[in-house]
């Protein structure tokens, strides 16, 4: 056996010690039938056999067989087993980070009934141990560690931006009672954001403010722990992931809120709603909800007076993987859009079967895979074009960024918006439309 590098040694330790029984069962159940191929948007876009989900999963399955099966130990070539090496880990990292968005569509269509995305998440864990996380993802983790959010936004900048937005909102709506509260202890709802909203998409914060105001909600933002993103989850870096969600959970407890509401962000919702309790090893003393769910609840309670004629252009809906396939929020966004837009049409396929935008799983931050990411957006572009829609609603800022690029690259001529923005335009009280 060749001398192992430090990274390879760490990867080997993960292979030997960190594998859970569910992922191991999946690794033992795959029969490499290849029927998962056209469930994957990357394969559909490229036709490259290396992007078949089972083939990507094989990158880590080969290592698993070498160290966890008798046949793999005594007849590795016959069993398709491979020793850990820098070369094998490099190929694994490319497959897990660059050719897979861990969207989980293949999991719902595997003929055997296993979850290749779970295997690829384990592959990311192995790659992460070997120090092979894409630089952009790692940079976001490092920045979030050192500054508290992945864009390095200071507390002063947050307060200044939100104050400006509040003033602008009052001017636009003519309603001087609208507030964008910050650090208000005792509020019922703590609303967390994607830092991109503060930097590039402030109108989505204004939209949320209008909706909270219309619903008569008691809510607050935080000037410090506002970042819902979790690049630790993308990198399978559980220590970082725990640290990031831990900050928000602690802040929610300090503020004494009843409900943590996650702005429109698929992975942010998943990490706080589903993963945080597991990372932190305890139940959370408050409810965790997507803003999409909250808007649907307001509608059901008659707290959102909407006029859909204010959104007359045809709207279609993109289903973010982490909100829908891994989050279980499937119908609420549809209920809201039907109430807020005159002409809402579904993509085909939709809901659990919808295709990933191509930028999920942190791929948007991995500049070394930018070309592959844009190519992988083609099935989504085809879906959008087929609807004839002028507006694409996407309840995820990560998806919005990718869809914006897909829109330009494939010349779709659509506008990509959050659901809150569409709802805010339809509000009968104070909406700008």
């Amino acid at each position: 056996m060749a001398e192992l590098s430090d990274g390879a040694r760490r990867a080997l330790a993960v292979l030997e010690d960190r594998l859970d029984e569910r992922t191991a069962a999946y690794l033992n159940a795959c029969v490499r039938c290849g029927l998962c191929a056209d469930s994957c948007h990357v394969f559909l876009a490229t036709g490259d056999p290396e992007t078949i989900p089972a083939k990507k999963a094989e990158r880590v399955a080969r290592l698993y067989r070498r160290y966890h099966t008798l046949l793999g130990r005594i007849a590795p070539r016959f069993a398709g087993a491979e020793e850990v090496s820098d070369e094998a880990l490099g190929a694994l990292a490319t497959a897990a980070f660059g050719r897979c968005t861990v969207c989980g569509r293949c999991a719902l269509h595997c003929s055997v009934g296993l979850d290749p995305a779970a295997i690829l998440r384990f592959a990311r864990l192995v790659a992460q141990a070997a120090g092979k996380v894409p630089k952009g993802i790692q940079a976001n983790i490092d920045l979030a560690r050192s500054t508290g959010n992945n864009m390095g936004i200071t507390r002063e900048d947050v307060i200044e931006t939100v104050s400006w937005l509040e003033e602008d909102l009052r001017d636009t709506t003519g309603d001087a009672s609208i507030q964008l509260p910050i650090d208000r202890a005792g509020a019922r709802v703590y609303y967390v954001l994607n830092p991109r909203e503060l930097k590039f998409f402030p109108l989505s914060i204004s939209a949320a403010g209008m909706i909270f105001h219309a619903a008569g909600e008691s809510w607050t933002l935080s000037s410090t722990d506002f970042d819902l993103t979790n690049y630790g989850m993308f990198a399978a870096d559980e220590v970082a992931a725990r640290e990031f969600t831990g900050r928000i959970v602690r802040r929610a407890e300090e503020l004494g809120v009843e409900e943590l509401v996650v702005a429109e962000c698929g992975h942010g919702f998943r990490s706080l709603r589903w993963e945080a309790p597991e990372w932190l090893g305890r139940r959370l003393p408050f409810r965790v909800t997507s803003f999409v769910e909250l808007m649907a609840r307001y509608l059901a309670e008659g707290r959102l007076p909407l006029d859909p004629s204010r959104n007359s252009a045809r709207v279609t809906l993109h289903d973010p993987c982490n909100l829908v396939r891994h989050g279980g929020v499937i119908e609420e966004q549809r209920t809201v859009l039907r109430a807020a837009a005159l002409d809402f049409v579904e993509m085909t396929p939709n809901r659990l079967d919808n295709y990933c935008c191509g930028g999920g799983g942190g791929l948007l931050a991995a500049s070394e895979h930018a070309a592959a990411r844009l190519e992988a957006g083609r099935p989504k572009a085809d879906q959008i074009r087929a609807t004839g829609a002028k507006v694409v609603a996407a309840p995820c800022h990560n998806c919005i960024d990718q869809l914006g690029e897909v829109n330009r690259h494939y010349k779709l001529g659509v506008e990509v918006r959050t659901i809150a923005e569409i709802v805010a335009d339809a509000l009968r009280t104070g909406g700008p439309g």
Partner: protein, 215 residues
């Protein structure tokens, strides 16, 4: 009742050894999953039930719809393997099956054998599938095919029964070692899968009449 033959004894020991090996592999599979803390949105039990029943239906799997011949061949092959294993276990009783049952079994095994060979050919000829395959994929397919053929012969002529039992013993001993592990881990895997997606309220998904969801 006749005294057990050497091939019966070997088969019985091999089946027992296989069961023990599978139990050990299952026990040492990986870190046990802790009980989840996140509040469920759906039902883990409902997801598990769905995974072990309705999820097999072709209209619930895009892969099955898009690859109907391969999926059907897979189902027929596995039905034949189950029938072959049942026949193998029955052989340990030393009692003959009624002739019509033997003939019906022969039809099932022959169909499964044909499907297995077709899937072998597909694996060998389809470039993408060939690239995905490892040598053991072909060996496992051939071993199962040989067992099906031996079972078929035993159904048609009782003199082939000892050979069927010897081959069955080899199959039982080999199964825990390689790809054939999936005969056990398919169920384990589906249970984990069902619990995960069931708990999150993803599967079984709410059915909405009149809305097309599939491509």
């Amino acid at each position: 009742m006749t005294s057990p033959t050497l091939s019966s004894l070997v088969l019985a020991v091999a089946l027992l050894a296989s069961a023990v090996a599978f139990a050990v592999i299952r026990l040492r599979l990986g870190r046990p999953l802790p009980a989840p803390f996140a509040e469920p949105r759906g039902s883990a039990a409902a997801g598990e039930r769905w995974a072990l029943t309705a999820a097999f239906l072709p209209w619930n799997k895009e892969s099955a719809r898009h690859h109907a011949p391969s999926y059907a061949a897979g189902l027929l092959l596995h039905a034949a393997v189950a029938a072959m294993l049942a026949r193998l276990l029955w052989s340990l009783t030393g009692r003959a099956l009624p002739r019509p049952v033997e003939l019906a079994l022969a039809v099932v095994l022959a169909t499964g054998l044909a499907c297995g060979l077709a899937l072998f050919a597909k694996r060998a000829l389809d470039p993408a599938l060939r690239g995905l395959s490892v040598p053991e994929d072909y060996a496992a397919n051939l071993l199962v095919g040989t067992a099906l053929a031996a079972g078929l012969a035993a159904c048609l002529d009782p003199r082939a029964l000892p050979a069927f039992q010897w081959i069955g013993a080899v199959l039982a001993l080999y199964a825990p070692l390689g790809k054939l592990r999936h005969m056990v881990f398919l169920v384990t895997s589906r249970r984990f899968w069902g619990r995960f997606f069931g708990r999150r309220g993803v599967k079984p998904a709410p059915h909405l009449p009149g809305e097309a969801r599939h491509g």
